[in-house]
Structures are given as C-alpha cells and as structure tokens.
C-alpha cells in the first residue's frame, strides 16, 4: 500500500484543461516537489488534493483510503495540512490563535463543556498550548506570539502559515511555493526547516516550488508539469536536464 497516490487525476474549468491525466506516488518520509512554469496546474493539484474542487476524473488515495468525494474538512482529519501560495491566514487573530486553530482536529470537548468551561476544557486548552508552543519554538516565532497577523511582515506571515500547518500534526504537508516572496536569508531558513520537518518531525512533504536551488537542496524526487500534464519525473538533477523540461521553460528551439 502506498502512502499517498494520485491516479489519472484531471480537471477542466470550462474549456481549460488545467490538469490532465496526472499520476504520481509519494513515499512516506520523503520530500516530493512539483515544478513547472506558471499556469502549469500545480496549485490546482493541491486544490484537488484539498478537495476544494471535485476532480473531473481520477482518484486520490491516502494511506490506502480514497479521499475523492469526501467533505473538504475531512482532509485535515486524515492528517493532511497545507499552506497557500498567497497566504490565507486568520488576519484579525494573533499568531498564537492562528496556531491554536491548527489544533482544531485534535479537539475533544463538546459545546456544552465549552460553554461552562469545565476543567476538562481547561486541561485540553493547556495541552493545545503546549503543542503549539513546540511549533513556536521550532519556527522561532516567540517574539510574534501575541501580535496580530494583519500587522506582520510578509516573511513572518509565511512562517506563521507553515506553523499553523505544523500545529495540526500532519502526516503529509503540502507547501505551495514556500519560498515565494522571501529574501535569500529567509529562503535559507525555509530550506533548513523543510529538512528538519522531514528528518526531525518525520513528516512527508509534497511541495510546489520555483526556486531550483531550494528544490535541489531538499527534494528527494521531483515531478515536472507543463500545461497540466506530467513531462518528467526523477531526481532534481535528472528532471532539470530533461529535454522536455528545458523546452517547457525556455520554449521550443528556434528553427
């Protein structure tokens, strides 16, 4: 049984075939990267995995169970978390609250218990904070803990979003362009974190990324996509030197 598997996945928006017949498998414990030029359909694949769009064809399997056709919030319950290309944080809440919402799938108290704030709720709250505090330590977010997200610089928001995904304690982490908009130092930090997420936390990472330095540094395997179709798969070096990939990025040879 494979860890995460996508089979002949396809979706069309009206006349646009955004993703067509894409199949790949992600093994437990690896960093798997999807690359491709703008509009290749990378984010759309994430949205399909997140069940935000129903696929027109194909299936998605996680730990032997089929995801397709379920309600979107179930995906998190299975242990899949994601970040967004354009950052989708809870803007008017503090960093701490954002991360605590990441703990939502671990909640175990009922509405009535919460209305009365029984000791059991208090205990669970403290546990949630302990878990979140580990993430804050890991990503060095301590000094922003109580700041509102709306006032934070872009680079920090990117890290907060990663933290929120980690707070869910996922088995599979989807990162949509983790380095976009970051400066070289921040990108370097991001690379370290991705390596640590894989090695220390043992979380499998499925990532979309444009920065080829970052890609070759952290990825175990790379999949190249163009116009919604798979054009190459292999190690970072193999994919980078693949003729179809070069053509997709640089255009066909001038005749």
């Amino acid at each position: 049984m494979s860890f995460f598997k996508v089979e002949q996945l396809g979706i069309r928006f009206g006349g646009v075939v955004a993703v067509n017949d894409v199949s790949f498998e992600v093994n437990r414990g690896e960093v798997f990267t999807i690359i491709g030029p703008n509009g290749a359909g990378k984010t759309t694949i994430f949205n399909l995995v997140g069940l935000i769009y129903p696929p027109t064809s194909g299936r998605i399997e996680f730990e032997g169970r089929e995801l397709t056709g379920m309600a979107p919030h179930r995906v998190a319950e299975f242990g899949i978390a994601r970040t967004f290309q354009n950052i989708e944080l809870f803007e008017h809440a503090s960093v701490l609250q954002n991360l605590l919402i990441g703990r939502h799938r671990h909640r175990a108290t009922s509405l009535w218990q919460e209305l009365l704030f029984l000791p059991s709720v208090r205990r669970r709250e403290i546990e949630a904070r302990e878990a979140v505090e580990k993430v804050i330590d890991f990503l060095e977010l301590a000094k922003y803990r109580d700041s509102l997200v709306a006032g934070l610089p872009y680079g920090v928001r990117k890290v907060v979003e990663l933290g929120r995904a980690l707070a869910t304690e996922p088995k599979l982490l989807l990162l949509d362009e983790p380095s976009s908009g970051l400066n070289p130092e921040e990108t370097d930090d991001m690379a370290f974190w991705i390596e640590d997420i894989k090695k220390l936390l043992g979380i499998t990472v499925l990532m979309v990324e444009h920065d080829m330095n970052l890609v070759s540094r952290v990825s175990d395997r790379v999949l190249a996509l163009n116009m919604g179709e798979v054009i190459a798969e292999g190690t970072a070096a193999e994919v980078q030197s693949h003729p179809a990939v070069i053509e997709a990025y640089l255009g066909g040879a001038v005749k």
Binding site: T43, T44, N47, G50, I52, A71, P72, H73, R74, V75, A76, E77, A81, R82, F84, Q85, N86, I87, E88, L89, F90, E91, H92, A93, L96, Q97, L100, I101, G102, R103, H104, R105, R107, T109, L111, E114, L115, L116, F117, V121, R122, E125, I126, A128, R129, E130, E133, L148, A150, G151, L152, Y154, R164, T168, G181
Partner: protein
C-alpha cells in the same frame, strides 16, 4: 506602562489577565449590584433595557463580529423569544422552563435561517435574513389566535419559583444575572475550540476548512447560538414592555440591533455592552436636548438623523467602534508619551487573493 510577563499557559486562558482588571471589573460589579440604591426609578428602567439589549448584542456579536455572517433579521428572533415566553407564561409554565424554551425554540429557528448562510455570503445573506424578518412579522400579525395579531398580547411580571418579581429592582437583578451568565458563556466559548473555529470562518473560510473546521456545522451553530441569546433577550423584553405586538419587531428594529454591534465595535464582546448602552442612552439625551433646541430642529425625525450621522461617522473615522476608541485612549495613556498615530493601523495585505491560484 504595564508589562505582562507570561509564565504559565493558564495566564492566557483565565478570565482576568491581571490585578487591574480584577479591580475595575470588581468595582463595576459592585456599582451594578448597588444600582437600586443609587439609581433613580427612571435610570433603573434604562438599566433593564441596557441588560436586555446587551444580551441581544452578545448574540449578534457572536454571529456578526466573530463568525463574520450578517443578519438583518434579528428582531425576528427577538419576536420568537418574546412570543414563546408570553404564551408559555400564559399556559402556567415556570419561568426557568419557559425562558429555556424561548432560547431553544429561537435557536431551532436560527438553524433554519442559517441554512442559506451555507451557500450565501454578504449582501445575499443579508437579503435572505431580511426576508425572514418579514415572514415572522407577517406570521405574528396574521396568526391571531396564537399571537393576538396586531392587537398585541399582554405579558405579566416574571414569577420565579412562586415569587413574583414585581418591583423594578427584582426584575433588574434577574436581567443582570442573565446578562452576566450570557456574557460568561460567550467568553467561555471564545476561549475554546468552538470560538476559534468561528473566528477562523470569519477570517478565511477556505483555510478554516483546510484546518478541519466543518463550515456547515459551525455556521449553523453560530446562527443557533446567536438566535438563542436573542431569544433570551426577547423573553426578558416581553416582561419589560409587558405588552408585545408585531410592530415592535419590524425590519427597523433589526437594523437598530445591528447598529448595537457596529457602534460598539465589531469583534469585541465589550462592544455589545457599549453599543447597547449607547442606543438606549442616545434617544434619552436627544429628548433632553430637544428642550433647548429651536423648534424647527427639534422634530420627531431628529433621532433618526442623529443615529444616521453617528453611524456614518463611526464607520468613516472609527471602524472599530466605541470599544476600539477606548482601546486607543487606554493605549495612549499606558504608553505615554510614546503613542504613535499609526499604531492601530493595520498593514494592508495586497497579496489577498480572490482566487486560489
């Protein structure tokens, strides 16, 4: 300047963050408990209304301020609560049971009204709740055998365990106790997972759902909760006014209820109380002012004009409402002389995407 050092998780969770808060809320509590001794009969009556509207304000705040849904039909829940209470009391049901029924029935109506919210957003949701208000108003007018139609219905004083709460101060303590209980329930919810799920839905539905928040469940819950609180407010309102008729629960009343949260400050529970106090006190101030104004200005329309101006002014200059203004003043003194003008301005996020691409 106050620095709060965090040394335990409980510090964030407990009701009062520091001694100063215990002191000031304690003082406020004492003043409110002693109200029958210092307040005039007239002022007591205003306090009744402030309590009742605060409860309704809490309900609306949970829905509008924390879950980010809009409702222009909350007067209908007020009506549901009021009529349920009136009918059950007439049938001899004890108050504790009847008010619980008012809350529960209002909540179940809230679930139904919340259904469109699963698909509609913003202005469309506003229109659907508005339509609901009209429907309830119509039912209250037409179903004469039950509601007394436009002739209205009389409601007698509350009797609690065989003890008639006829005096102003007795009824006041009942209102105050219920306000505090409702407030505590809201605070408790907001510091638990459910409250955070509401906030998540308000700020980004898409990532809320990615974090495992069941949008349908929590939106419906928020409507139900909001309606339940408004229903409780409605039940007390019926006793306070002692006469209810459909024209008290019109669209205009709904809009007035929404102004509570907007004037008070969207997204703060304090805002509900401040807003409630404001809309109760302002008409009184206006009627006092009328005595001193030239007769051309002191017309019946004056109140509407002033309300409108206050609302527009707040939206333009203080979108965080009265409570937001208070926060700024407090910060100014706490940080004196280091307060900067831009301190509360939030960075605009230009990257905010409409689409998921």
């Amino acid at each position: 300047m106050r620095f709060i050092f965090k040394t335990a998780y409980l510090q964030d969770i407990r009701l009062f963050q520091h001694r100063g808060q215990v002191f000031w809320y304690g003082l406020l509590g004492l003043a409110l408990l002693a109200a029958p001794w210092w307040a005039s009969e007239y002022f007591m009556s205003q306090l009744h209304f402030i309590c009742i509207y605060s409860i309704v304000g809490f309900g609306l705040m949970m829905l509008v301020g924390f879950t980010g849904q809009i409702s222009l039909g909350h007067a209908a829940f007020l009506a549901v609560g009021a009529y349920t209470e009136a009918l059950l009391q007439a049938a001899g049901v004890p108050f504790v049971v009847s008010i619980a029924c008012a809350a529960a029935f209002s909540a179940s109506v809230g679930v139904i009204v919340g259904l469109p919210a699963l698909r509609l957003k913003g202005i469309y949701l506003a229109i659907s709740t508005l339509a609901f208000n009209v429907i309830i108003e119509e039912i209250a007018t037409r179903w004469e055998s039950l509601t007394g139609g436009s002739g209205g219905k009389h409601v007698s004083a509350v009797s609690l365990f065989g003890w008639k709460l006829e005096s102003d101060s007795e009824f006041y303590y009942l209102c105050l106790a219920l306000t505090v209980l409702c407030c505590l329930a809201c605070i408790n919810l907001l510091r638990s997972p459910t409250g955070r799920a509401f906030v998540a839905i308000r700020d980004s539905e898409i990532s809320a759902s990615c974090m495992g928040v069941n949008l349908a469940k929590y939106k419906t819950l928020s409507f139900a909760l909001s309606a339940a609180l408004t229903g409780i407010g409605g039940a007390l309102y019926a006793h306070k006014i002692s006469f209810i008729s459909p024209e008290q629960f019109t669209l205009l009343a709904s809009i007035e209820l929404v102004t509570i949260v907007i004037i008070g400050g969207v997204g703060f529970l304090h805002g509900a109380v401040l807003g409630a106090a404001f809309i109760i006190v302002l008409p009184q101030l206006i009627s006092i002012a009328k005595d001193y104004l030239p007769s051309a200005v002191a017309t019946t329309g004056l109140q509407g004009v002033v309300f409108g101006l206050v609302l527009i002014g707040l939206i333009l200059f203080e979108p965080m409402g009265l409570y937001g203004r208070w926060l700024k003043i407090r910060t100014y003194f706490e940080l004196f002389p280091f307060y900067r003008r831009g301190m509360f301005r939030r960075q605009k996020s230009y990257m905010k995407s409409e689409r998921l691409r």
